[in-house]
Structure formats: structure tokens, C-alpha cells
Amino acid sequence: MASHPALVVNDLTKVYGKDKAVAVNKVSFTVDRGELFGLMGPDGAGKTSIFRMLTTLLLPDGGSASVDGHDIIRDYRQIRNTAGYMPGKFSLYTDLTVEENLNFFATVFNTTVEENYHLIKDIYIQLERFKDRRAGKLSGGMKQKLALCCALIHKPTVLFLDEPTTGVDPVSRKEFWEMLKRLKDQNITILVSTPYMDEATLCDRIALIQQGSLLSIDTPENIVKSYPDILYAIRASKISSLLKVLSTNEEVASAYAFGEYVHVTFKHEGPHEKDILAFLHEQGLEDIEIKPTEPTIEDCFIKLLKK
């Protein structure tokens, strides 16, 4: 028998309150064993509700899902034994030390720190000198590392990481993703959510989510490939005036800031370089550069959001 996927999510739905606000709207996707799957979307998109349903902390209002073949409603006990969960909000015991927290979580899952130390070694080494410090007194980055250790100490088969890098600087974010890659090599399935679009390329596959609905599921490469328009990057001495001027041009379909450039798509096929250059000069802009550019995941997400 072929092994079943690590996660199967089918029309999963969550509705809150008397207003029946739909937080998660018929969401379906599967995650293969050992896959690093990213759920990309802004705050309020429904990412946390999905995590809480899959970790059996919240009952769905429709649809079904299974984790490692276990149904999230019927088999919640098995899931709680085999899943690791790092919530977006720091949820360890702030008045226990680093070491006490880790021992506590190992004991709750009937194991010892020694038994699975190989899984957390790389991460724990960075924490070791603070092992007698209370968790509440750790810095943000250290808290995040301890939370990951505690989520791993019972050797989960599936790891749920809800926005582990939100508010973390680019260097620490990069280090965190390197840790995830090493875990993936140990055949742990990882579902991770993030609002940072640049992290998408580090996942095997991603789902873009907005207002409770999935907009697209694929590999980052394929999502970028399916971008329908030709995208131009335009630069001028003053980016705010460039944006304003471009929005008045009738040929321009969309224009938005993208780092030091403005990314622009047009209503009709090009070439556009000459016309736009003349137009921008006429409008008094200087130091203009215009070139076709490859879209990124962020461009794809913006395109989907504007639909």
C-alpha cells in the first residue's frame, strides 16, 4: 500500500461568532511526508485557525482533515502524541527555566531529553548557556529557539509552526530557515506559516491564503511561472512622484513600489520602453531606468489579491 500523505485537508471550514464570520472557507490541500509546506498570507487570513484545527485544539464547522492518517476529530489523542506545535504566541512556562521547560515537555510525552537530543542539538547548543534562566527572561530570538526545541522533543512526525519568524530580523530569519531545512532532512513533515513573501522560495510547495480562502497552491517556481503578464521594473530619482505619474498613464494596468523600483504591468503587449521613457521625461522625471523583470512570489500575491 502506498503511504498516505502526512496531511490531508478537505473543505476545512471555520465560522466564528453570531455574525457567522467565515475565518476558514473550504480549504483543501495535501502535504506529503517530509515536505516543507508554507502557508503564506497576511494577519487575519485564517492561518492560525487552520493550525488550531489541525492540531485538534479547535473543532471545524465543516470539512475534514487528517494528520498522519489520523482524523482530527475522532483520533485527536493520537495526533496530540505525534504532532509538534509551535504557536504564534509564546506559550511555554515563563516561570520555569529553559532546562525545566524542556524536561517538562519531554516528560509529558513519556520520553526524555537524552533520547531525542539529536533532533534539537543544533538549536539547543545556542541556548545552553542560558539553561538556568527563566523562559520569561529570554530575548525574542531565544524564546523562539526554545519553543522549537520543546515542539521537537517528543520526535513528532509532523511539525506545525505558526508564524515562527514574525517580527524577527532578516539575519535571524535566515538562520531559522536553515534549522528547518535540517529538520526536513530528518524526514519530519513541516507546515509553516509566514507573512514574509521572501520565505516562500525556501518551501517545497506553498499555498497563498487571503480572507480564509486559498488563492493558489503549487511550488514557488510554478507560481512564478504562471504569472500572466510581462512585468517591468522602472526606476527614477523620486519614487513617490514616479508612482503618482505612472498611475495617470492610460496604458498602465498596475504600478506599485518594489524596493528601489516600481513594478509595472501594461494593458497591451509591448514593447513599452520608448513610450514610457518619453512620457516620464515629459512629466519631469529624471534618471530613468526601465527594464523587463522576473516576477517574484510577492508580485504573484499582489496580482491575486487585486483580482
Binding site: P42, G44, S139, G140, G141, G167, D169, G259, E260
Partner: protein, 246 residues
């Protein structure tokens, strides 16, 4: 040369033996968008708290909107706006009530409150939400509203502490449109962010590493200096050398 609104010279803050902010020297000008970058734990928050008159420096000099950070902290607070990612507004007050509350705190008259809140609600397109609780608004709207509220009393400088964290890419850009508008009207913007593309939108930026300002220039000049193509690489080159693990 444009008017200087933030002037700091060797500004330092110690906690015991720990030097959280080490001899910071910088000038920020009227109408400038100044990006204040650094890794977690580099000392950004400590520096911001001194600039906002919330924390008295250990040594060094600074004036904010012309007021001294040791002796005139109340005047500083009246002349700046502040917006953080964590605390935005009162969730259990309506949009209108929040505007009136913060306007009242900053001693706006009833007539000013009326005209200001009408203007702000129209500008943000929140006519239908004016009498709804803030808790029901999407995060992006809350952040736009709280930025506008931070500008209610027409401060000379507004401090924005990671205003766009977790916001979707379209709303993030709309937020920057508001920043540009404010800067065009002469308000100085002092902003922290972990999005390196946003660093490119600033006129100048500084990068803090282990309590010190290690780089300060326009994004273009910094890239030239470090011989790289993106601010991300500039940041990475500087911050990966950090010894202070938060």
C-alpha cells in the same frame, strides 16, 4: 540645508554594565523618511525610547523637535507622534471614539476634533466603519487608522515601530502611500522595519549592530559602498557580524 528635527550626539544608555545604545550620533531633517534598522536586540527600541522622551539617556546629547531629551520630555511628547505594532488603538472603542479619545489627550478643541475626525474618516474611506468597533477592522485598516491618529495633533516627527509587520503586500504599499503623503507635508518620519524592500523607500537609513550605528547613508550610497545590489545584502553583511545574541 533643511531644518534639523532630530539631533543626537554620542547618545548612550547603559543598564548596569550593559551598553544598550552606544554613542549614537545622527541628524534627521524635516520631511525626511528615515529608516532605523538593526537586528533584534541591537538597541533600536532603547534608542527610540530616548528619542520619544520615555527613557533618560546615561550620557550624550540629543534634541527632538528642538527639545532636550533630559529636561523637556513633556514637550517632546507633545510634539511627536508614535505608533507601535503591538499597541495600536482601543479595540473596544469605535473608530470615531478612538479618534476623539486620542485627539482629546492631545488637547484638541471640540471644533478641531469634529473637523479632524471628518477629514480623517473621509481620507481613509472609513465612512461606513466610523461607528463600528475597532476590533472588527482588518489589521491593515487598524494600522492605517492608528498612523492617522498618531498624526492628529500635527506632530513634527512621527515614530513608527514596525508599522507593517504581518500586513499583506497590497495594504503594506497603501500604508507607505500614507507615509509619503505625510512626508510631503513636511512631517519627519522615523521608521523601523524588518522588510528590506521598505528600507529602499527611505531617504536615508541607519543600521545598528550591537548598540552602535554601523552605517548611515542613503540606500543607494550604502549599496555602492558595500558593492551589493540590495539592502538585504547590506543588512546581512553588517548584522551577521553581531556578537550580541539579543
Amino acid at each position: 540645508m533643511s531644518e534639523t528635527v532630530i539631533h543626537a550626539e554620542n547618545l548612550t544608555k547603559r543598564f548596569g554594565d550593559f551598553v544598550a545604545a552606544n554613542a549614537l550620533t545622527l541628524e534627521v531633517y524635516k520631511g525626511e523618511i528615515f529608516g532605523f534598522l538593526g537586528a533584534n536586540g541591537a538597541g533600536k527600541t532603547t534608542a527610540m525610547r530616548m528619542f520619544c522622551g520615555l527613557s533618560i539617556p546615561t550620557s550624550g546629547k540629543a534634541t527632538i523637535a528642538g527639545y532636550d531629551v533630559y529636561r523637556q520630555t513633556d514637550l517632546i511628547k507633545k510634539n511627536i507622534g508614535y505608533m507601535s505594532q503591538k499597541f495600536s488603538l482601543y479595540e473596544d472603542l469605535t473608530v470615531l471614539e478612538n479618534i476623539r479619545f486620542f485627539g482629546g489627550i492631545y488637547e484638541l478643541s471640540n471644533a478641531q476634533l469634529k473637523s479632524k475626525s471628518d477629514e480623517l474618516i473621509t481620507q481613509l474611506g472609513l465612512q461606513h466603519e466610523a461607528k463600528k468597533l475597532v476590533s472588527g477592522l482588518p489589521l491593515g485598516w487598524k494600522q492605517k487608522l492608528s498612523f492617522s491618529v498618531a498624526l492628529l495633533h500635527q506632530p513634527k516627527i512621527v515614530f513608527l515601530d514596525e508599522p507593517t509587520g504581518g500586513v499583506d503586500p497590497v495594504t503594506r504599499r497603501q500604508f507607505w502611500d500614507l507615509i509619503y503623503d505625510a512626508a510631503d507635508k513636511g512631517v519627519t518620519i522615523f521608521v523601523t522595519t524588518h522588510y528590506m524592500d521598505e528600507a529602499e523607500y527611505c531617504n536615508r537609513i541607519s543600521i545598528m549592530v550591537d548598540g552602535k550605528i554601523e552605517a548611515l547613508d542613503s540606500p543607494g550610497n550604502l549599496k555602492k559602498h558595500f558593492q551589493v545590489d540590495s539592502m538585504h545584502e547590506v543588512f546581512y553583511q553588517l548584522a551577521r557580524g553581531a556578537k550580541r545574541g539579543e
